[in-house]
Symmetry: C2
Subunit: 219 residues, 2 copies
């Protein structure tokens, strides 16, 4: 076990993000040995997530050291910042030297717009697969897609599976397995409707309407 190597992890925190997208991986990462996590944004002013929680970033882009793992999640209100030049420049600069360039859910759209997914396969939330494909990215429908040093997760809860894949890459299989145990990640979803394929077209249609309403309420 390589306990002595320090892993610097940069998690982008932005207004309108989905908290769970990055809190899943954060929980995994924070349990790893020798990890330093920076929750980074333009400023350290509090931001509000798309589910209404207020989080305070701890590191500005300007103060963020070079990261080993760059991570960004999605959000119902990500449209408001997805073309933000300061953010895209930060992602590009960090991404070009990071050991792993990663995202969860709609976070892959940010990586794509920053030019960090050229020629790569990547995952995204099922409802945004078409959108990511339109940016010229090959979309993988697996829960976690690993393409060289690009590691991307599917929608929201996929961040937990994603985090454990990254944990194995950083710290080896045993520590990743211990982390899964400590997070008691032995899922038992009450329904079998977690993917569009399993849920079927009727429920997908209802979910899309539902999501549209929620996004309108958020924006």
């Amino acid at each position: 076990m390589t306990h002595l190597q320090k892993h610097v992890i940069g998690i982008v925190i932005y207004p309108g993000m989905t908290a769970l997208d990055v809190v899943g991986p954060q929980t995994v990462f924070s349990g790893l040995p020798s990890v330093q996590i920076h929750r980074t944004w333009k400023t350290i002013e509090p931001i509000t997530t798309d589910d209404g929680m207020v989080i305070v970033p701890d590191t500005t882009f300007a103060d963020c050291p070079p990261v080993d793992v760059l991570c960004i999640g999605g959000g119902r209100a990500q449209g408001a910042v997805v073309n933000d030049l300061e953010l895209l420049n930060f992602l590009r600069e960090q991404g070009n030297r990071a050991r792993f360039v990663t995202s969860v859910c709609g976070g892959s759209e940010f990586l794509a717009r920053a030019g960090l997914l050229e020629g790569c396969r990547a995952a995204t939330h099922w409802a945004t697969r078409k959108q990511l494909a339109e940016l010229g990215i090959e979309v993988g429908t697996e829960r976690v897609v690993v393409d060289r040093n690009r590691i991307t997760g599917g929608g929201v809860t996929a961040g937990i599976d994603f985090g454990l894949v990254v944990a194995k890459a950083l710290c080896g299989e045993e520590i990743a397995k211990i982390t899964q145990l400590l997070m008691e990640y032995d899922p038992a979803p009450p329904f079998d409707t977690g993917s569009p394929e399993k849920a079927g077209p009727e429920l997908v249609e209802k979910a899309m309407q539902y999501m549209t309403q929620a996004m309108e309420a958020t924006v």
Copy 2:
């Protein structure tokens, strides 16, 4: 569908809590129709979670309206507040009139200490089952335990399964299924080590050592 009924949900936010314990359910709840979420603590000063994230509570105990769902999670540093009288009084007062009294992970210890689990079965993180039993509570090892209006989840990630069970109780099965789909909750854990039974005694032993170190580092 009973879209018009408003559900008031109170999530307790405290220093040293595990963010994911309550961010899982929060993601579920925030997607439900007609929900009002209060993230409540003694003050609205920012708190730091056990994985180092700063969250700002939005409602003091004094300002919190009567809740339909009372929810508290666990945390590596919960020992510092688990006997806090102001907190226990808040839980007792709200819990005695709430429609559902709920917890995730070590949060069940708070409910027990507030006298809200007398004669009930409840779940907790696997590593704290003995501790909860010592408080006179019958411990269930299922991922989510429903005992009349007490709904309790197991460790950390169980909050997602738990949240969906609560969602069904509040809003019916179809909305809970849609919520699961929108959260893309179709888990694919990379390892089969999510419970002590599956992980086996050797890994459990290592995990306990690991957790002890992490708790010492937190406190």
